[in-house]
């Protein structure tokens, strides 16, 4: 049986005993960096699900790095998105991190970006690592633009992923109540 909940991201799996919660972090106060470490290599895929926003007066992007690697420009990404008026596509190659969208808490502290990030074959030591993201943020037509997108990312390393770190490209914080949950798919 295909696992319907992550059909959007293209992973096939099974219900019941093959989808496991690994760890969750919900912010009690604004925080600049979120790290999941000591990720076991006993799964086939990882899925990071969450809601988040930044503490700046504008939308922006978060940076996701693996295994503490921030040098060598080993990350690249592509996105197909919509902003409510037109579709767009962007690419960024040779980056120091994978990037994903972060809505602004300046709109209102109650509107959160939601996203599902699949990290495929994360423990395979023969492949570079591919990431797929479905994300979205709507503001009811507010000041800060809304966005819905499908993104892919590449980490050019054959090392198994044992930690991932999230930060913000604006150098500010994830807002209180941002929450990330990491799951393993057998």
């Amino acid at each position: 049986m295909i696992l319907p909940g992550i059909l959007a991201s293209g992973i096939s799996g099974h219900l019941g005993g093959n989808y496991y919660s690994i760890a969750t972090q919900t912010l009690g106060s604004a925080t600049s960096t979120i790290t999941f470490s000591s990720i076991p290599s006993t799964y086939t895929h990882l899925q990071l699900r969450g809601i988040w926003q930044n503490t700046t007066s504008g939308n922006g992007y978060a940076a996701m790095t693996f295994n503490g690697v921030t040098t060598g420009n080993l990350y690249s990404g592509h996105v197909l998105g919509g902003n409510g008026s037109s579709a767009f596509a962007n690419t960024a190659d040779g980056q120091s991190a994978n990037l994903f969208f972060v809505g602004s808490s300046a709109q209102t502290s109650s509107m959160m970006t939601a996203g599902i990030i699949d990290i495929l074959d994360y423990a395979n030591t023969n492949k570079n690592k591919t990431v797929k993201i479905l994300y979205g943020y709507d503001t009811n037509g507010g000041t800060y633009t809304q966005e819905i997108g499908l993104a892919s990312g590449l980490f050019m390393s054959t090392n198994a992923i044992s930690s991932l770190t999230l930060s913000l490209t604006q150098g500010t914080n994830f807002a209180q109540y941002s929450s990330f949950a990491l799951y393993g798919v057998k």
Binding site: T108, G136, Y137
Partner: protein, 166 residues
Amino acid sequence: MMASAATYTPIATNTIGTSTATVTFSSIPGTYTDLILVTSGTVAGTGENGNSIILNGDTGSNYSVTNLYGVNGSTTGSNRQSSQTFMQIGRTSTSSQSISTVHFMNYSNTTTYKTAIARANDLPYFVMATAGLWRSTSAITSIAISNLNGNFNTGATFTLYGVLAA
């Protein structure tokens, strides 16, 4: 880092036995982290095939969506709706089986508004991704699914899953 027990659980499934205007999941427990609604089937009529969702019976102008879509293999675009009385998210076709998956993220927290993200596959000609917003801090306890075009046809299936974080 230790993993928990399996945590992806079907809460309820409804395969309709007769043409039905609205399918409702009620008394949804607040014990999960995310809800995932999967719809599959066809609808009667012609024209717009968008699904409409009402949460907790709220028919106020508290819903909005932003869409990204591709049509007929040739046209892409994005549009949005503000202050709607339902969340237009997911689609169901008149002509062939359509599948939509809607993720209601952190649905039971009582601090933030609720954001949903979805993928809709409305064959033979439409693919869409949607971000939806319900401007309420209430936990989601019921989900009512209709279609703007007409009744869901016999055999349409609706399944609600709960995902529980550690």
